[in-house]
């Protein structure tokens, strides 16, 4: 079973009914190919992070769906989305593998680690390898003489221009 989510950004000048009609259109196209729609979300009008086609807002719609063995009809829908100039952006993501991986991990640290020693959930963090020191700290080499105080180059603060 594969699950997907399809998100598209519609032209904000379309009325809500038009957007709904459009969404229904895509949904029927999907269901006709044996895909099951599991959820639908509409975020309504939302400001875009950057202008697209001189527009600063967009209407966001999400469709969650699942299918057995690949989504037929998805290619058709994507082609339609691409051709529709009322759609500013769209994105389809296959989510089942990510969600499966997420489900394997214990959602919260268990309050009593001893009792669940056999639980393998902890392999996720291998934090201890991470500590190779900060690369930011190179400023402090006295042996170079003369160049004096160039310390403090680390950190991000200096670079946020």
């Amino acid at each position: 079973m594969r699950t997907y989510e399809l998100c598209f950004v519609a032209d904000p000048r379309l009325s809500d009914e038009d957007v709904v009609a459009m969404t229904e259109d895509y949904k029927t196209l999907l269901t006709s190919k044996g895909v099951e729609i599991t959820k639908e979300e509409s975020w309504g009008r939302r400001k875009l992070a950057y202008p697209i086609k001189k527009l600063t807002e967009g209407k966001y719609v999400l469709i969650f769906f699942s299918s057995e063995g690949g989504a037929q009809g998805l290619a058709d829908v994507e082609r339609r989305l691409l051709q529709n100039d009322k759609v500013l952006r769209f994105l389809t993501v296959r989510t089942d593998e990510d969600l499966k991986r997420a489900a394997r991990v214990v959602p919260r640290r268990n309050p009593n680690p001893e009792t669940e020693a056999g639980d393998r959930g902890d392999r996720g963090d291998r934090d201890d390898r991470g500590d190779r020191g900060d690369r930011g700290d190179r400023g402090d080499r006295d042996d170079r003489g003369g160049r004096g105080d160039r310390g403090g180059r680390g950190g991000y603060a200096g670079r946020e221009d």
Binding site: L91, R126, G130, G151, Y156
Partner: protein
């Protein structure tokens, strides 16, 4: 020549995803993603955020997806 060596105290950085057990970086989770894109909207490097390699990879795709959908800016000027 022997200057006293400067001592740096640095908080040990930990991967937010490991700590909070977030295993799925969702492109829709703007609250999460925004913590990793500072003012210029560049992706915060691992060396600064302390995110582990695996999670940085997930984060990276999530941020890029969000950018494509104009949920996050590519840059701010």
């Amino acid at each position: 020549m022997a200057r006293p060596k400067k001592v740096f105290f640095r908080r040990r950085k930990v991967c937010k995803f490991c700590v909070d057990r977030i295993e799925h970086a969702d492109y829709k989770d703007l609250k999460l993603l925004q913590g990793f894109v500072p003012e210029r909207s560049k992706i915060l490097p691992r060396r600064i955020s302390g995110t582990c390699a695996r999670h940085q990879r997930l984060l990276q795709t999530a941020i890029k997806r969000a950018r494509h959908l104009a949920l996050l800016p590519f840059t701010t000027d």
